[in-house]
């Protein structure tokens, strides 16, 4: 790998990272696990002048129980997330989705914060975090702010993070046993990105569906919620016809991209099929 020349800054704390970003402005890019950034640098599609390495910022690693939610440090690796007891107990869907990312080598280096800050609508995390109504925590010289997942992903490889902001934590809701979930990832080969993914969360309530949330991967420039589906399922009977009718609305209002794997109509079709399967499995789980 021969990237364009860059300056390398290693920071030991979030404060140092924020300082480094403030100092270098838009020329600086944060390096987390590097599994998205480094390939882009190798192709010289990303040419940061300053690379600020978060690899030794220990305060950004790990999962803690914050009472009504879980707080996952941005530098927690995918492997740590998917095998963390708190995540598995309270937010199993994230463990499942994370297990679908790349391969074991990628999951041991790649981080949840990096995956979010990269802002790739084809990545597995964004749709899941959107369905979870997760909250992102970012810090800049002025302090800390919270950004909902819905506001966080703003465009193709774009997020709400300002150039001098460091994503520090992802806050996840604690889901009780009434929630079922499933992630349907549809891909060409096991290591590939999803052509389409559907992440479903369904809360069961006395044989009915109390609430359903569906996040869709790679169906537009940002991850999207299948709002039409969710609306139809709120309070609906947990029956096959209801699921089918609701899933048929999954692609409503989406603007799927075209690539060598799928034209838009096929992506929409997949969104409907995968949403139905994710809903069925959620109810069965």
């Amino acid at each position: 790998m021969i990237p364009a020349p860059f300056e390398y800054v290693r920071v030991g704390s979030v404060d140092e990272a924020v300082d480094a970003l403030s100092e270098h402005g838009e020329e600086a890019t944060l390096l987390a696990g590097g599994h998205s950034l480094l390939p882009l640098m190798r192709l010289r599609l990303a040419v940061p002048e300053v690379l600020v390495d978060l690899g030794r910022v220990d305060e950004l690693r790990g999962v803690r129980d914050a009472g009504d939610h879980l707080a996952v440090g941005a530098m927690t690796t995918h492997h740590q997330v998917m095998s963390d007891p708190l995540v598995r107990e309270h937010c199993g869907v994230l463990a499942e989705v994370t297990g679908e990312v790349g391969d074991p080598q990628v999951r041991h280096r790649g981080t949840i914060g990096g995956a979010c800050a990269h802002g790739d609508a084809a990545g597995d995390h964004p749709a899941c975090l959107l369905a979870l109504d997760a909250t992102m925590v970012a810090r800049d010289p002025g302090g800390t702010r919270e950004i909902t997942a819905a506001d966080f992903f703003t465009g193709i490889f774009e997020t709400a993070l300002a150039p001098d902001e460091v994503l520090t934590e992802v806050h996840l809701p604690k889901l009780d046993g009434s929630w079922g979930f499933d992630y349907q990832k549809f891909q060409r080969v096991k290591q590939a990105w999803a052509i389409v993914g559907a992440c479903a969360l369904v809360r069961r309530e006395d044989g009915r569906i109390g609430e359903a949330r569906v996040g869709l991967t790679n169906l537009g420039s940002v991850p999207v919620r299948a709002t039409g589906t969710e609306r139809l399922l709120a309070g609906a009977a947990a029956e096959p016809d209801a699921l089918r009718e609701a899933a048929a609305q999954a692609a409503e209002g989406t603007q799927p991209p075209t690539d060598s794997n799928a034209r838009p109509d096929y992506r929409r079709h997949l969104a409907r099929v995968l949403t139905l399967r994710a809903l069925q499995n959620s109810l069965a789980s």
Partner: protein
């Protein structure tokens, strides 16, 4: 030294673990890129970002000002280094168009990735950075990307030749018109062989050392063909052949992509000659995708004629083969290797084949695992399924009616080859039993009847291939620029150890293991007492290298023959030492004995030492304990087998899941079952990849849009099923070992087996063709377009995108 009892077991036919592996798995191997020489400089190659452009100006001066840069050259700067352009060694017809192919372009670039300039720096990083400072004015020219469009000759790749047609090569046997006009059924199809990228795990790399004390050049290259490289580079650069040593160190895979002679080898030699310093060039993966040869890329129009009872009458092939922008070493000959294989294992009356080679503004094509034969096998095996469907018979039954019976060998095929031996019945019976053919057909019927969302398909491929390239005389008749023999030298050392020198150039296959087994058995010495030397023209000066499943069938046989020749030589020494007539000396498992006198004997090791001392030799015999043999096969070899594949097709999504893959291969006598199994596993996976995943895609401007491994789907272990493999062994009758070769078999066989299975799953829904790779979208659209859609609303946009 092992004792005689332990040695008595033959090595050939047994699983012996690969000698090569300890080094490989402990990181002790030496790849070309590992070589570090004192004062070595690093080369970066600037490549055209455009598929077709005139080079109005190439200014390397700004690059020269960059830190660490020692030299920089445009194509014009290096033009006087070349005595001739990069050669094509296979001028398939007398009037073939062979455009100039300079190592660095001077006037025009003709594919994205064509060489434009060279930067030499103290380290590879500086070289890569400085490339961005070479100033190039590209004047865009219209590119031609599509083969059929190219044949209209409206946009020319090489305007000086006035045509994009490289050659037309015909072959016709029997009365084709009569066969077709007299047939009850004719099935006509067009199959597309998509372009593939070989993806050897080790990228190409070159190191040149011009500083040797003896004044010669040493060129290290990640190549399959050091001997070819030596000859061609001597010609291109005007270096006397004896002053050029070529070394292929450990080489990490090739699949044909390193069966070539490349611009960068010439550039490295030229730069080293200019600067008098060692140089290195190592390819990036992106460069590998653009500048290392691609495979396949053919359009096959095929027509088959049969009687109503399914007896084949004739076959017509009109083939268009994409050469890319230039002819590499064997580019035009590759599709012709298929010319003799379109009839497969079947009998028929008449056959015609025409191949048109076409230039386009794309990366040159050349040999990729199977080279011409996978394409031919795909076409015949697919159309046999299509014909079976047309006739309403079981596809295996149709094959049985037409294949060459075991009792009919040797058999002269309609394409003009003589298949020495084979047993298609035995391989097929065994495969069908292992596969559970009848049970799977029953499940298929149930799923069809119930309208299951998941349909089951069964695909067959009863392939054969011609390999063991090749009889020199046949190659000569095809205008190939070299012979097909292979050389081996077997040397007994004074302490009884053995060195075998082979002209074969391994790059992952396990030749050191297999050849050691052959030599150990022939000489009656221990497997571990044999070393195989290869891949260095100073060590193994005579050879024609590794490709076309030839290593064992030609090179392995040469080892066996050389060992036999050595035993004959040693027999004279034994007779002298044991004071007996030469005719009375018997040789068995390493010991020479006097017939009828069991106490009078000597071992090959003891004899070797006594010949070494040369104190007491027979009159007029020189004290040599080495023998050479150059083996030129009398015929190709013809491995065959039956591959069966079961896939599940999700009709809702188009996803294909390979559920079961069973094959029984007959590669003749097996030297090492583990090596065979490894080749079959890798081969199946590579062929399956063409069926389901891999495709090099160019946009209309000639940009390779699948330019990284992210976009080009090379499968991994999770993507393929467990393979059930077995073998039958019908020895070849054209070589003394009975071996046939197995390097390409899996790839040749598996692509049609998988695609046939996919089609079989959805044929009842009205689908009779899906283009490779059978991606989910293509499968889903085929099912959908056939009017058997899954009940979803599909009325929204279908515009845009490429399928």
């Amino acid at each position: 030294m092992t004792d005689v009892a332990e040695r008595s077991e033959a090595n050939v036919g047994r699983v012996l673990h690969r000698k090569e592996d300890a080094k490989l798995v402990t990181g002790q191997s030496t790849w070309t890129d590992d070589i570090q020489l004192p004062g070595m400089l690093h080369i970066g190659v600037l490549r055209s970002p455009m598929a077709h452009a005139r080079l109005a100006r190439v200014d390397v001066a700004p690059a020269l000002e960059q830190p660490g840069v020692v030299a920089a050259y445009s194509g014009a700067d290096l033009a006087d280094e070349w005595v001739m352009g990069l050669p094509c060694a296979w001028p398939v017809t007398e009037d073939m168009v062979a455009p100039d192919h300079w190592p660095v372009a001077t006037d025009e670039v003709r594919f994205a990735g064509d060489t434009v300039a060279v930067v030499v720096a103290r380290d590879r990083f500086s070289a890569a950075d400085a490339l961005e400072h070479v100033d190039v004015d590209y004047e865009p020219l219209e590119p031609v990307v599509d083969m059929e469009e190219a044949l209209r000759d409206e946009v020319l790749v090489h305007s000086e030749h006035g045509t994009n047609k490289c050659f037309v090569w015909p072959l016709e046997t029997g009365d084709v018109d009569a066969a077709f006009s007299g047939a009850d059924v004719v099935v006509k199809r067009r199959y597309i062989q998509q372009r593939l990228i070989p993806n050897a795990i080790e990228p190409r790399a070159v190191v040149v050392d011009p500083t040797t004390a003896s004044g010669e050049y040493t060129l290290y290259s990640a190549t399959q063909v050091p001997h070819f490289v030596r000859i061609q580079m001597a010609l291109v650069l005007g270096i006397p052949e004896h002053r050029l040593r070529v070394v292929a160190p450990d080489v990490g895979g090739g699949f044909g992509s390193k069966l070539n002679v490349y611009a960068e080898e010439a550039i490295a030699l030229a730069v080293a000659r200019r600067l008098g310093r060692p140089v290195k060039w190592t390819e990036t993966r992106s460069e590998n995708y653009q500048a290392t040869i691609h495979g396949r890329d053919q359009i096959q129009d095929i027509e088959i004629a049969a009687s109503s009872d399914g007896v084949l009458r004739g076959l017509r092939i009109d083939l268009k083969a994409d050469m890319g922008a230039y002819l590499q070493l064997l580019t035009p000959g590759i599709p012709l290797l298929g010319a003799f294989m379109y009839c497969g294992i079947y009998k028929m009356d008449a056959y015609s084949f025409t191949c048109t080679g076409v230039f386009t503004d794309k990366t040159p094509t050349d040999a990729y695992r199977g080279a011409g034969r996978p394409e031919a096998t795909f076409a015949i095996e697919r159309i046999m399924d299509d014909l079976a469907a047309e006739l309403g018979v079981d596809p295996m039954e149709l094959r049985r009616r037409n294949w060459i019976q075991h009792s009919e060998f040797p058999y002269d095929t309609v394409a003009g080859l003589t298949y020495d031996t084979g047993n298609y019945e035995a391989a097929t019976d065994r495969a069908m039993e292992l596969f559970g053919y009848d049970e799977l057909r029953a499940e298929q019927a149930r799923r069809r009847e119930s309208g299951d969302r998941v349909q089951l398909g069964i695909g067959i491929s009863t392939y054969t291939e011609m390999c063991g390239l090749a009889p020199s005389r046949v190659l000569g008749s095809l205008r190939y620029g070299a012979g097909g023999w292979e050389a081996a030298t077997v040397r007994l050392l004074p302490t009884g150890k053995v060195e075998v020198v082979t002209g074969i150039s391994p790059h992952g296959q396990g030749h050191e293991t297999g050849f050691s087994q052959i030599a150990a058995d022939a000489l009656g010495v221990d497997f571990d007492d044999v070393d195989i030397l290869h891949g260095d023209t100073r060590v193994a000066p005579t050879g024609l290298d590794t490709y076309g499943s030839r290593s064992l069938a030609v090179g392995g046989v040469a080892v066996h023959k050389a060992a036999e020749r050595l035993i004959d030589k040693m027999r004279r020494f034994a007779a002298h030492e044991l004071e007996a007539a030469e005719d009375d000396i018997e040789f068995d498992r390493g010991t020479f004995r006097v017939r009828g006198d069991p106490d009078s004997s000597t071992t090959i090791q003891d004899l070797s030492l006594s010949v070494f001392t040369a104190h007491d030799l027979p009159e007029g015999v020189d004290p040599s304990t080495a023998a050479e043999y150059v083996f030129d096969p009398e015929n190709f070899s013809f491995p065959h087998g039956t591959h069966l594949c079961a896939v599940e097709v999700d009709t809702d999504t188009g996803a294909v899941h390979v559920r079961n893959y069973t094959c029984v291969d007959d590669c003749g006598t097996i030297v090492n079952p583990q090596l065979v199994e490894g080749q079959i596993h890798g081969g199946i996976t590579q062929g399956m990849a063409q069926a389901l995943w891999e495709e090099a895609i160019y946009d209309e401007l000639g940009n390779l849009t699948t330019g990284t491994i992210v976009d080009y789907y090379v499968p991994g272990a999770p993507d393929v099923p467990h393979f059930t493999t077995d073998t039958t062994q019908t020895p070849a009758t054209t070589n003394p070992l009975g071996v046939k070769g197995v390097g390409e078999a899996g790839t040749i066989a598996s692509t049609p087996a998988v695609v046939n299975a996919v089609l079989d799953a959805v044929r009842h829904l009205g689908v009779d063709d899906i283009r490779m790779p059978c991606s989910p979208e293509r499968v889903w659209r085929a099912v959908h377009d056939a009017g058997q859609q899954t009940g979803q609303d599909l009325s929204d946009d279908t515009a845009g995108g490429r399928l």
